[in-house]
Symmetry: C2
Subunit: 229 residues, 2 copies
Amino acid sequence: MLFKVAQGCYHKDVPRLVDHDQRRAEIGEAAIRVILREGLTGVTVRGIAAEAGWSTGSLRHYFGNQHELQAYVVRAATETLHRRVLPRVQRPRTEGSVVDRIAGIVEENLPLDAERREEYALWAAVVEWERHHPPENGSVTWDDQRALYRQCIAAMRGHEPVRDPDRAAHPHPDPQVELWAALLHTFVDGLASQLVNTPGELSPGTAAALLRSLLEAVPGQQPDPHALQ
Amino acid sequence: MLFKVAQGCYHKDVPRLVDHDQRRAEIGEAAIRVILREGLTGVTVRGIAAEAGWSTGSLRHYFGNQHELQAYVVRAATETLHRRVLPRVQRPRTEGSVVDRIAGIVEENLPLDAERREEYALWAAVVEWERHHPPENGSVTWDDQRALYRQCIAAMRGHEPVRDPDRAAHPHPDPQVELWAALLHTFVDGLASQLVNTPGELSPGTAAALLRSLLEAVPGQQPDPHALQ
DNA sequence: CTTTAAATAACACGGGCGTGTCATTGCGGC
DNA sequence: GCCGCAATGACACGCCCGTGTTATTTAAAG
């Protein structure tokens, strides 16, 4: 101990050789590559060390055991996901019908092409981790998704978009928004499940068409809801 | 070879000690217990041998390698599933509203209680296997599900129930039946996915309520469709 | 330069796995 | 009673895993 505290404050007589946080991030990137290749079960001490180009002994300076390593990797994967898909989801959409615009947003979360399948593999790894290590304050990934679909349904029904992320995390005053957000959320999970489990039975095109059919069944749609930011 | 052909016809000079098929079935039951406990990845040669009470060498007389063992187990699990849930699905339902009766059928496929969670674990193992070994003639499990939901939606819309299983496997002439069967199928998969992946976010009661909400959104419902056999 | 301790790497241990080998057992046929 | 062979089970091999120990390297501090 006594070699580093907080932000770059070093104690005497101790050589600073590497930045632990930066090294951990580097290992996290290697681990994410492994996850995309082999899934969360492929995240082994030896495997990550080989992928990152170090020995297992070196890794143990940053992660005491496999559990710590995996926990860190899952956190890194979550951040990578947010960084990659959030901007796409929040991209302003002004063309097409209401259903098309909402569908475009929702499709960013579906494994419809190679890129999103990769991201979905990351997502699945996070869910897999949360399944075995249930977060006590509710699943962040689940809550984020639900908030997104709440916003989508609310917009379709002509409600003002809620800018405050905290407010968006709470139930919508319109009970129909809550209901159809839940229906949409569940339906999207079903689409994703079928796309990865039985790709021969459900093509990406059919999945997109089904999504639009469900959106068209949402009651109380406004012809021109407030612009989707 | 030359020790047994077809049904109990033995060749000369060969001691018949055990019935291979019966022994394989016995091993299959042990393997299913292991699947329920540890999933398909828990189906190891050593593990199954221990569960069944034999040595690994004995198992190798019936299964040349792990792949054969798992393939057999998946087939056995599929049959067990059909034997257990099909009668429940086809149980005559005469009480409650149309939506309630259909929901009762669909719920037999959802991991809503301990018993059905067990069956869902089996089901998931089958899907997992089919994902890595795609059947060329289409997924039997998927086709069965789709046919069931087709029948459900058709009944809600007042169509005559199709008795011939072959006919039920084909698309329904009513395009709305096809569409909503697909929507329902996808939605049920989503419910199942959330029930097992994020049980803290979706209770069995909420899942059942959501299912009923979706069924109520099915267009063209008849107040009193033909009795559900 | 010497000292010092972090950083690194190499290795060992114990365990689980799939798979192959081989001696033993015991039933069926003579 | 005796033989043959399917059936059985114990064991070995090689591989991968997590983890702990230990020696070597390296760079900062004096």
